[in-house]
């Protein structure tokens, strides 16, 4: 998400900061920034006031005469982005001892039903007992869809046949049923409607009046164009929204809607949907999003996700093995499956500072798809016998050919994998003997290696501890030895 806006912003700021920074090239650059924002579907007025504010702050003497004006400008842009999208109050306040009612609304096809499921799943993980109410009596099979989702996440769904009911009735009956079953969160999945459809908007207001939801959440498609602001405004006027959930942010949308909705309506963005699976819902943080937009990565979210999805015990056990130098291909496979839980490699890279550009570079190079490579590696390891995984040294040419055939790869690829693994294992063994500080230094060196394309981790050849290993030094020393021997021979001859 946001790649292109990140790219254009970086370009625009780049042109500004190349050469001497003057008022006129700041204005030029800001025009490009505005263009980039408009191309990203940011509302026209929002884009204009954004660039006006940044320009106003940037052309001041304070910035131009400061030590590093270009960094100051990036700082201003970052701060304004945060102001634009924040302050976000993510999360849902649950009432204690009382049922919390959440109402979801939005245009058709914005992803309400799926988001209901994601939200229910998230709340249940946090210890609540949610119930879903199928108040969408409009779309054929909408009730079935919610039921299937409810089954998948094991959350009760209340519904009534559409021909004999009205949305208001379903919701009130749903609340009674939830009380009976002891649920403490009620999520109402209302039908998608156009904000200009007065009749359906009236129905929404009636549900609102009757059930008094504690939170009314607007589900908004992140791919929406200039119209996002209009619909958000109308829904806000009808319901006084408490939050917005942006969906479909996993596409290549530039997410301009995200930047506009908060700015125009003042309704905070609470969550973002980043995938079709029911666990792909993330809380929204303005500062982290601003960092991502500026291509600075989002390590905080990455760490949080890691803590949530990774098996801590498994990780600890692996680390111990690594330090003991007993890391086998089997462990490598386990580590890989853990990493996979975090999402695609491309997505992971984008969360790291500067990783976005790296991911782009990889995409530009044909065939460098880290996810596919991971899949191949997995296939290769799975084609080895258990014994081979423990003792990779045992793999000779014939075994290598067998593994390649079994995994549909080339023997050379198997060879490369083994070599890489050998290098890694060796390094780990080395690291095991080092102090914490030196370990850190090693890791940094390794990271530097990784950025270098085509580099692989090589295990240094082990030399005897007696002397320096450098080729030239050895050569010199041999030369000196020969000379000494020659001199000695001469001396001996003279004595005779």
């Amino acid at each position: 998400m946001f790649e292109s806006i990140t790219q254009s912003l970086t370009d625009a700021i780049g042109t500004m900061t190349r050469g001497r920074l003057t008022e006129s090239n700041i204005r030029d650059g800001m025009r490009k920034v505005r263009q980039a924002l408009l191309e990203a579907d940011v509302n026209y007025d929002v884009a204009k006031s954004f660039t006006d504010r940044v320009t106003e702050q940037a052309v001041g003497d304070q910035v131009l005469k400061s030590l590093k004006p270009e960094q100051q400008i990036v700082g201003i842009v970052y701060q304004e982005l945060v102001n634009l999208m924040g302050p976000a109050e993510s999360g849902i306040d649950l009432r204690r001892g009382e049922m919390t009612v959440l109402m979801m609304c939005g245009l058709q096809g914005s992803g309400k039903t799926t988001t209901c499921g994601k939200l229910a799943r998230m709340l249940r993980e946090q210890g609540a007992k949610p119930m879903l109410v199928a108040a969408d009596l409009q779309r054929p099979a909408a009730i079935e869809q919610l039921k299937v989702i409810g089954e998948q996440i094991d959350v009760p769904v209340y519904s009534e046949p559409p021909s004999e009911s009205t949305p208001v009735k379903v919701c009130t009956n749903g609340r009674k049923e939830a009380n009976k079953q002891g649920c403490d969160v009620l999520i109402l999945d209302t039908a998608g409607r156009l904000h200009v459809d007065d009749e359906l908007m009236g129905e929404l207001t009636r549900i609102d009046n009757k059930l008094m939801p504690h939170q009314a959440l607007l589900v908004c498609d992140a791919m929406t164009g200039q119209d996002a602001v209009n619909s958000a405004k109308s829904f806000n006027e009808a319901l006084e929204l408490d939050g917005v959930i942006l969906t479909k942010l996993d596409g290549d949308t530039r997410g301009g809607a995200a930047l506009s909705v908060k700015a125009v309506t003042g309704v905070p963005i609470k969550f973002i949907g980043v995938g079709e699976q029911l666990d792909r819902l993330e809380p929204f943080y303005a500062d982290r999003m601003a960092q991502r937009i500026l291509g600075h990565g989002d390590v905080a979210t990455l760490l949080e996700t890691a803590q949530r999805v990774l098996d801590q015990e498994e990780m600890a056990a692996q680390q111990e093995k690594m330090l003991a130098g007993k890391f086998t291909l089997d462990d490598f496979l386990k580590a890989m499956s853990q990493i996979k839980k975090l999402g695609s490699m491309g997505g992971l890279l984008k969360m790291l500072p500067g990783g976005g550009q790296m991911a782009q570079a990889m995409e530009a190079m044909d065939g460098a798809d880290p996810d596919r490579d991971l899949g191949r590696v997995e296939a290769m390891i799975r084609s080895m016998t258990l014994d081979e995984r423990q003792n990779p040294d045992r793999i000779d040419r014939s075994r290598r050919n067998r593994i390649a055939r079994g995994s549909g790869t080339d023997p050379a690829e198997v060879h490369d994998l083994l070599k890489q693994f050998d290098g890694m294992a060796g390094m780990m063994q080395q690291m095991a003997g080092l102090s914490k500080k030196d370990q850190l230094r090693q890791v940094q060196a390794m990271q530097k290696e990784m950025v270098n394309p085509g580099a692989s981790i090589h295990r240094k050849k082990e030399r005897s501890k007696r002397g320096p290993t450098d080729k030239n030094v050895i050569k010199d020393r041999r030369k000196q030895e020969r000379k000494r021997a020659k001199d000695a021979r001469k001396k001996n001859r003279r004595r005779r």
Binding site: G109, G111, A142, I143, I149, T224, G225, N230, S231, T253
Partner: protein
């Protein structure tokens, strides 16, 4: 309500945006300066037509009328002509109001296959139902293939529509290979001698490569059962979509060789202006437009009416 009127009512909002912002500033005797052009630019951007297309129009206005006192009629004529010219393209698509099937390329013999794709939640299934209804009224027999085996209850949704329409449907249980459903759909159409088979696909974001490859496979498999098929590969586009529509059009075209667009949800305040940019940059024409939730709310797209309705009473 005539077709022209429908366009008009569906596009009133679009027109409003353009009219209120632009008509005022282009009154007779007004000097068209940069500030005025800027406001005009704003109005065009608001239709989602994109920075490039809007910029091109503003540039043309600047060249022709910049700094001069302008007459609104003249300016409107320029804008209309420009938009019509972009949307009409180079005669690669016909929109004949007397023949509702005119934009579609039909097979010379045997069933015609129409593949329908798009991102999640744009209204593919509803558009398919509308299209089936449209074709049935034109006297064609239709077979539906429920190729969305991924989303919960998507097959049920299409089955309900087929019951309402009284047309045949081919389904497979959830999780089945969509290409197999497509193949069987073509098979059924060929056996029963139906005129047209419409193949639904699951919504997918254009960035998910494996899903796009799956779409490519569906496209290939259809061609295997019915040589030369699918004759039409329609991309359903939500009128509220912004500039992302461009990316959708290009990536879906790569996988499924899109031959046309169905512009859905044009009855909201959204303008659907991105089709101008798509037509301009990729040459994919709009063939039909969705104007509401009812089964009859599908109309033939017509660039002249589209643009004329846009500026009807200016």
């Amino acid at each position: 309500m005539g077709l022209f009127d429908r366009f008009k009512s569906a596009l009133t909002k679009t027109k409003d945006v353009l009219r209120t912002d632009v008509r005022d500033l282009l009154k007779a005797g007004v000097i068209l300066d940069e500030e005025k052009l800027e406001e005009f630019h704003r109005g065009l951007i608001h239709t989602d037509m994109g920075v490039t297309a809007a910029g091109a129009i503003v540039d043309e206005l600047r060249e022709k009328f910049g700094g001069r006192t302008v007459e609104p009629d003249k300016v409107w004529a320029v804008v209309k002509d420009k938009l019509k010219e972009i949307l009409r393209g180079e005669g690669d698509c016909r929109w004949d109001l007397d023949d509702p099937l005119s934009p579609l390329k039909l097979a010379d013999s045997g069933p015609t296959a129409i593949l329908v794709c798009g991102v999640n939640g744009v209204g593919k299934t509803t558009s398919i139902a509308k299209l089936a209804n449209f074709l049935q009224r034109a006297g064609k027999t239709v077979v539906l293939a429920a190729g969305d085996t991924f989303r919960a209850a998507a097959v049920e949704q299409l089955t309900m529509w087929s019951e309402r329409l009284g047309c045949e449907i081919v389904t497979k249980p959830s999780g089945a290979d969509p290409a197999a459903v497509a193949f069987e759909g073509c098979d059924r159409a060929a056996e029963t001698g139906a005129d047209i088979v419409i193949i639904d696909t699951a919504g997918r974001l254009q960035t998910h490569q494996n899903l796009m490859q799956e779409l490519g496979k569906i496209h290939r498999v259809i061609g295997k059962r019915l040589p030369g098929a699918p004759q039409e590969s329609l991309l359903v586009l939500d009128a509220t979509t912004g500039q992302n529509g461009l990316s959708q059009a290009s990536k879906f075209s790569e996988a499924a060789q899109c031959t046309g667009i169905v512009l859905a949800k044009l009855d909201g305040t959204a303008k659907g202006g991105v089709v101008v940019a798509i037509r301009q940059q990729m040459g994919i024409p709009v063939k039909y437009v969705g104007l509401g939730e009812q089964i009859g709310d599908l109309a033939l797209f017509s660039p002249d009416d589209f643009v004329d309705a846009l500026f009807a009473d200016v």
